[in-house]
Amino acid sequence: MSEIAAPAALDPRELARLTEVARRIRVEIVRTVAHAKAGHLGGPLSAADMLAVLYFHTLRIRPDIPDWPERDRLILSKGHSSVALYAAMALRGYFPLEEMATFDAVGSRLQGHPDMLRLPGLDMSTGSLGMGISAGAGMALGARLSGLDARTYVILGDGECQEGEVWEAAMVGARHRLDNLVAIVDHNRLQQFGWVASAAPERTPHPPHWGGELVAKWEAFGWRVIEVDGHDIPAFVGAFDAAARPDGRPVAVIAHTVKGKGVSFMEDRYYWHTRPITPEELAIAMQDLGEPPGPQAAETAGGAR
């Protein structure tokens, strides 16, 4: 039986702070991809709230000492959503926000898919799907062997769970009782192209299916499953709090999300997985995200953009 995350009783100021962080992550995602004229949008936007909660509430980290040995580890297994991770890390103070303007460019520390050798604070290089959870299992094993109480968090896409390696790792995680390992599945119900359902020839998302296929699979592999509305910040905090109370099983947080969340014309549209955005679309997106009109970060960042 999966658990449904009970919302945490957050102080209203803390809730407002995390909500604002999530909004700013989304603004940075859209601006950065528009500037780079490359990158993904739908998946990063669906992961913005979990990243806000992780980086600004849950993770035990020290951005001033990115390789602090006792830190919690975070692996973005769905590495194509790197821009969301970079936005969260910049806002948290790992590097200057202006550096977002270098995303995807030659020489940048902000590679299209995360490169741990370039950017301090990245715990693993990713980009080939299905791998992050294996590396996370290795980190969780290593933490336990060395008596470290650090936790390892791995963000996976739901499409990524089609990779067989994910289930190899799920088997091993349960066998080794890695209850210091938390997989977070960004269950936005869409992938780059996907299947055409007979009833929905236009590649619409599967209807939300709480207690559905993914939950059954992770449970069958021996994981403790916590379901959460992936855009409900108090629920996320509650889910991660629950995950931190170990019971011998690794934890899968199945986050029910909307691809492209926050931008009206991107929500639930598979083709916004990755697609160039026009200046007109950018203006609408900024309006949707509550970003005041005015000079873009391009100008305010001293021309870096």
Binding site: S125, A135, G136, L141, A143, L145, E165, A169, R175
Partner: protein, 314 residues
């Protein structure tokens, strides 16, 4: 000269990694259900808490290896080379090589000797593949003595290393006390007529072949290359200059392996005729070790005959 038989490199693997772990708590072994074959079981007996069974799931195992390496451990891989190199190749590429993870890809069953298992278990293109992998060190020891030294060296090196180990006992070329020098070639026989370059257990058979050639009046210079990457280019150039003619012999595909590395090096630095003896673009088959060496022309007499024929052709 007929060389004495040494011990199997897989036994040396189990013993040496166990010994290293006695002194170094960072060393762990990750096994994909083959510890009884790779002799990882020797490690399990001594250090059960550091013997991490990963089940029959090699892609995940190589990923776990990268993750545990990031936590300060030094994982050694216990499976057949086929399943440590090509099956999880993308994990090796993205999680281990690109990140320079301190993972040692080991496990024996390289080449033709797989206990008659045939094409799936024999791997004869691993050197080509791993040599092309940025950041990867590629080592191919000749015998039990050198395998032990290579394994000891690998624990002290911080970064990804692929060690090409064999399943079965092979001839012993090096006596105890032989030191492995990373990145260097080893001249195992001085000669004037032709330079023979080899690697792995094949070198012992080439040394025996050189004696057969000597009886025919051919004085072969034999160079052993235990470090295939980084490649000892200067030593190969020097050895080529000595005789003006080079023949490579490897228990491996001639495409991109040792022969490829020698040809690339010499064509750039000192154009010299290079001919390659090895496996020519085929899938190999099951059989006894002796029969396979005969079939593929890698036994000492067959090597001697081929080298003699090449030299007579001019």
């Amino acid at each position: 000269m007929s060389l004495p038989m040494g011990r199997a490199q897989r036994e040396i693997f189990g013993e040496t990694v166990t010994e290293l772990a006695n002194d170094d708590p960072r060393i762990v072994v990750l096994d994909a259900d083959l510890g009884s074959s790779t002799k990882g079981d020797i490690f399990e007996k001594a250090h059960p808490e550091r013997y991490l069974q990963m089940g029959i799931a090699e892609q995940n195992m190589l990923g776990v290896a990268a993750g545990i390496a990031m936590m300060g451990y030094i994982p050694y891989i216990s499976t057949f080379v086929s399943f440590a190199v090509v099956r999880p190749l993308d994990q090796v590429r993205v999680l281990i090589a690109q990140t320079r993870a301190n993972v040692k890809i080991t496990g024996a069953y390289a080449g033709l000797f797989t206990g008659q298992a045939g094409k799936t278990h024999q791997i004869v293109d691993d050197v080509s593949i791993m040599r092309a992998m940025p950041n990867m060190v590629v080592l191919s020891p000749c015998d039990d003595t050198e395998a032990r030294e290579v394994l000891r060296w690998s624990a002290a090196y911080d970064g990804p290393v692929y060690i090409r180990l064999m399943r079965d006992a092979t001839q012993r070329l090096f006596e105890d006390g032989h030191a492995f020098r990373f990145g260097e070639a080893v001249t195992v026989r001085e000669g004037r007529d032709v330079t023979l370059v080899s690697t792995g257990a094949q070198t012992s058979r080439v040394v025996e072949a050189a004696d057969l050639l000597a009886a025919d009046g051919i004085d072969a210079h034999v160079v052993h290359v235990p470090t295939i990457k980084p490649f000892p280019a200067a030593a190969i150039v020097e050895a080529a200059a000595k005789t003006g003619r080079v023949i490579t012999i490897e228990e491996h595909s001639v495409i991109g392996g040792l022969g490829g590395a020698v040809a690339e090096t010499l064509s750039e630095l000192r154009p010299t005729r290079v001919q390659r003896i090895g496996l020519y673009d085929i899938f190999t088959e099951s059989g006894t070790n002796a029969d396979l060496l005969e079939l593929y022309g890698l036994s000492a007499p067959k090597v001697a005959a081929q080298v003699g024929a090449l030299l007579r052709e001019g």
